[in-house]
Structure formats: structure tokens, C-alpha cells
């Protein structure tokens, strides 16, 4: 689960009535819409409230400030991505390293591409916040999933699995973000994605204790 956010960013209260839960959903949905339609610097509490059909005061019942709204939005999003990656990893226990890497890169890339406008908007929105806790929680969750997967590989083991795994994830996360921030053609993007897979695989082979022992 996501780590508890810093106090000044945590939601004020949870909705206790169905009406309130709907209000919250409307606020999140409105935030995404304003973010996409107007951009981060035009994302104002007034505009979000208006689009959500509530008053500003209502927003402030759930979130102590604007940042915490964006924080919660990113948290939701990362939860979904993490869940997808976890599921993929569980499905590949015992497989070959090649299958694992392929599946991992595909799952992560796919999760980020599904709604690429939202992904981009959230990458940007995250800047305002004290988001280290958020990123760290996400990283550790994925870390656990991929470590367990790699440890079960049928064709290789690593002297320092922890380091290899952290490196692998830093490279995948980083590269995907870098690609998303540039304006590349779809085919160039697809090419890089496939090259990234190749690259991760050749790294794992080079780092494999198994191979070194042969």
C-alpha cells in the first residue's frame, strides 16, 4: 500500500456518506480534466471546483491545500501502475530472464502509454509537491515485486540481486519518462522500447553469476 503522506499533504477526512464519495470522485475527475484542458499553471482551485460542480469550500473539506489534491491524484495513479506491474511479475515467476524482462518493460510502458496525456500531465503535476515519499513508496513496492520475480528465474542468478534490480528499475523508469518528455515519432518510440528491452537483457546476462561460472 502507499505510504502515509506528510501530514500537510494528507487528506483531511474520508467521505462517510455516498454523496461525499461522489463529490470526491467528481473533484478528481475535474482535476484531470482541467489539467489536460488548461495545463498545470491554469489549474486553480476555483476552476476545479467549478468543473466538479461544487464550491471551493467543499474541496477544502477533503484537502488541506491544492498540493494535497495533486498528491492524492498521483497516489491513485501510481497505485494502479504498481498493481499492474505486480500482477505481471507474479505471472512470470519461474520463467526465463528474457521473458521476465520483456514482460516487465512491456507492462510498465503499456501502463504509462494507456492514457499518455494523463501520464504526461501527472509527471508535470508531481513537480510541485514534496513527492519523494510518493516515489519512494512506489519504487519499493515495484522493487519487491521484481526482486521476487528475478530470484525465481530458471536461467540465472545474481551476485548482488538487490543492486541489479535497483539499477534495472531506475533505467526503465527513467528511460520511459525521458521518452515521454520528448516529441518522438510513434515508430521511433517503438524502436527505443524494443532497444530498451534488448539493453536490459544484455545487462542481466552480463551480470548473471550463472554465466560467469560457465
Amino acid at each position: 500500500m502507499a505510504a502515509t503522506p506528510p501530514a500537510h499533504l494528507s487528506p483531511r477526512k474520508k467521505p462517510r456518506q455516498a454523496r461525499a464519495a461522489m463529490t470526491l470522485d467528481a473533484i478528481f475527475e475535474a482535476t484531470i480534466q482541467v489539467l489536460l484542458a488548461e495545463g498545470l499553471h491554469r489549474l486553480t482551485t476555483t476552476r476545479v471546483a467549478e468543473r466538479a460542480g461544487v464550491s471551493v469550500g467543499t474541496m477544502y473539506q477533503y484537502f488541506p491545500n491544492k498540493q494535497s489534491l495533486l498528491y492524492a491524484l498521483n497516489e491513485r495513479y501510481l497505485d494502479i501502475v504498481a498493481e499492474k506491474v505486480e500482477k505481471t511479475c507474479r505471472g512470470k515467476h519461474g520463467a526465463t530472464t528474457a521473458e521476465m524482462v520483456q514482460a516487465l518493460v512491456d507492462a510498465y510502458w503499456q501502463a504509462k502509454t494507456e492514457r499518455r496525456d494523463v501520464t504526461r500531465a501527472l509527471y508535470r503535476s508531481a513537480v510541485e509537491l514534496d513527492n519523494e515519499a510518493l516515489i519512494e513508496a512506489f519504487a519499493q513496492r515495484v522493487d519487491a515485486a521484481t526482486i521476487a520475480m528475478l530470484a525465481s528465474a530458471s536461467d540465472g542468478s545474481y551476485v548482488d540481486l538487490h543492486l541489479v534490480n535497483t539499477t534495472l528499475l531506475a533505467v526503465i523508469f527513467g528511460t520511459v519518462r525521458n521518452v515521454f518528455e520528448r516529441n518522438l515519432t510513434a515508430s521511433m518510440e517503438a524502436d527505443i522500447r524494443s532497444q530498451l528491452t534488448t539493453m536490459c537483457l544484455s545487462y542481466l546476462k552480463a551480470a548473471s553469476a550463472d554465466r560467469a561460472a560457465r
Copy 2:
């Protein structure tokens, strides 16, 4: 040189007198200071002006808006990084692939680490802006430098040098950013840096036409 920024982000005028040049420098310096001391969301035009010892009106003579100030700051910074990478690349023409990769990762990582607080602050500040043009210009400049270097390698050539090179840079840029956004120990960071070098190298070997032909 850096590409011309979008009209709404380009500086209003260049300083024509020594006094004005000093004013501009003071504004840039103040911006970095406020960014480091107070963070992005407390970076206000008033605060920057006050710290720079000028009035707000003066700032607006040089920059049409707050974004353009951050744009110019990032431009300056990326120019310095690009220059360092270019110099490193020129120095390795004709060397082995291993030397090149090592030098490239070191140069880039080093440039970003030199003032890591500034690097982090600028990564964050860049979010507000329409910074695609900025990133693209930087990427293309480095791209040209590394392509020329790799093409001169004494021990390998590539079927699709362009793709290999773009992938390599996306991975390096992305990974470095990812590492900077996390809170890792110094030794963990050093380890990842060295692993990244290994990884790039094993990728280049795998992608080398030379080796495939053997």
C-alpha cells in the same frame, strides 16, 4: 546553440549597458537562491526582485513573465552541461567503445552532480514551462556530439547508429534523473552509476555489427 524559445518565453530585450547586464545577473542569481531556500511554490516575482535588489518592474523589462525567467535559467544551465559533454566527446574520438561509454556517463553524471541542489531545483522548475523546445535542443546537441564520437570508435560499428545512440542517451538522461529524484545513499548512487556504465557497454557490444560478424 540553444534553439530560439517560443515567443511568449523569449527575453524581452538584451542589456545594452553594463548596469543592465549586472541587473540581469543579479536576477538570475536571486532566482536560484530563492529556489533553493524557499522552493518552487514560494518563488514569487516579488521575492526574486527583492533578493536581486531591483523592483518587480525591472524584471518585467527583461522577461515577459515568470515562466520565461525560469526558461532562461534552464537554458543557461543546459548550455553548460551540453558544452561539457561535447568537450568530453571530442576528446574521445578514435578511442574504444568502453572508454567512450565510461567517459560519457562520467561526464554527464559529474555535470549533474557538481551542484546537485541546483540540478534538483531546475529539474523541478522546468515542469512549469513549455520546455519541449529546450529539451529537444539539448538532446539534439548532445546527440550530434555522441554520434560523431561513436562513429569513430576503433572497435565496433553499428547497423543503426542513430537508433543506438538515441537509446543510449535516453537511458543515460533518464536514469540520472530518476536517481536524482530518489533519496539514495551516496554509496548506492555510486553503485548504480557504475552499473549504468556496465549496462550501456554490454548493450553497445550486443548492438555492434562488428561482433555480430565475427
